[in-house]
Subunit: 199 residues, 2 copies
């Protein structure tokens, strides 16, 4: 392979981009499937009803190869209006965004401004809103309450740090217990957040 001067990167081919995106998608999917397993467990045991929202897709063309079968032949991914997960637990509305973070800090470029604002709105309206971050580097998952996220985000908008470090998560977030079933047991931490509301 040619070594480009000044570490200039060769433009990746379509196949390389595809492979990279698939790899990213798979890594994220591990966390996602563990979360979905946890939510299934919570539902089955009448603990909570929390679901991942479908990915928003703009459908452009649909074919009807058979009477009752619609095949979408052109569509595009859209920006989600809100967050990935929501539902009900102990009568509370629960709402969160979940991300897998492959660095040692979570950069604000990986979350939309309107998603942070959405979480803050849920919080103001009496719901339980947070960010759930998996750090594969440390084999740990943290819950960061929306209030902390919003505070850090405002600091960033005013010239502060562009990301929330792993150490910040350790300090201001809550470590989630992982196990066999549920794989990511985040509701005990939600209990702590509910206790704070009630106090």
């Amino acid at each position: 392979m040619i070594n480009y001067p000044n570490q200039m990167k060769k433009k990746p081919t379509t196949l390389e981009v595809k492979k990279r995106n698939l790899k990213k998608a798979n890594l994220g999917t591990d966390f996602e499937s563990k979360l979905n397993e946890s939510n299934k467990y919570y539902l089955k045991n009448n603990i909570a009803s929390i679901y991942k929202k479908p990915t928003p897709i703009q459908v452009v063309k649909v074919d009807y190869p058979a009477r009752n079968k619609a095949r979408i032949t052109e569509a595009y991914y859209r920006t989600p209006s809100t967050t990935d997960y929501n539902g009900i637990y102990k009568g509370y509305h629960v709402d969160f965004e979940a991300k897998s973070c492959h660095a040692s800090s979570f950069a604000f470029v990986h979350i939309f401004k309107h998603q942070i604002e959405h979480l803050f709105t849920i919080d103001k309206m009496g719901g339980i809103a947070f960010l759930l971050i998996e750090f594969p580097l440390y084999h740990e998952v943290y819950l960061l309450p929306s209030k902390v996220l919003y505070k850090k985000y405002l600091e960033y908008l005013n010239g502060g740090k562009k990301s929330i470090s792993y150490l910040d998560f350790k300090k201001d977030g809550f470590l989630i217990k992982e196990g066999f079933l549920p794989p990511i047991d985040y509701l005990p931490v939600v209990d702590l957040l509910i206790d704070k509301i009630l106090k």
Copy 2:
């Protein structure tokens, strides 16, 4: 056009099916857009945060014509796990399915069993769950609490009526006030349901 014997219907062409489906889709969309307008109004005025969930789509093939652009070239509609709408109002988790009903009764074939069970689960867990039905024939929209829906559904499973009539909606449901903004003002009826919980 040939008149078939015994009123036997000619199999519709693909184009006819497409046209019919589009017509159906448009009719439903009027109600949907009015509901979305209402939810936008509620959010803008800090009254509630309620959203329609995206339609679940199973993506099979994706092309990458440009580096950051993904074009879905094969996908299929999937069965939704839950209901169309959910969110938070006065701290309560709100969850409902909305349907446009072009007959004088709402048949159970137009809602999935697991959607009715989902609404009942939300109800049991302390949320506010209901069915919102538009009757274009009568220019009216009704809210039917999940408890009533579930009762009628159990009767149907035990050999009872296959549908809920317009008169049943008048009797056991709540008429929604329609206006300019919000076009479908359903939260005052949700207030009545909250009052029932608190009593």
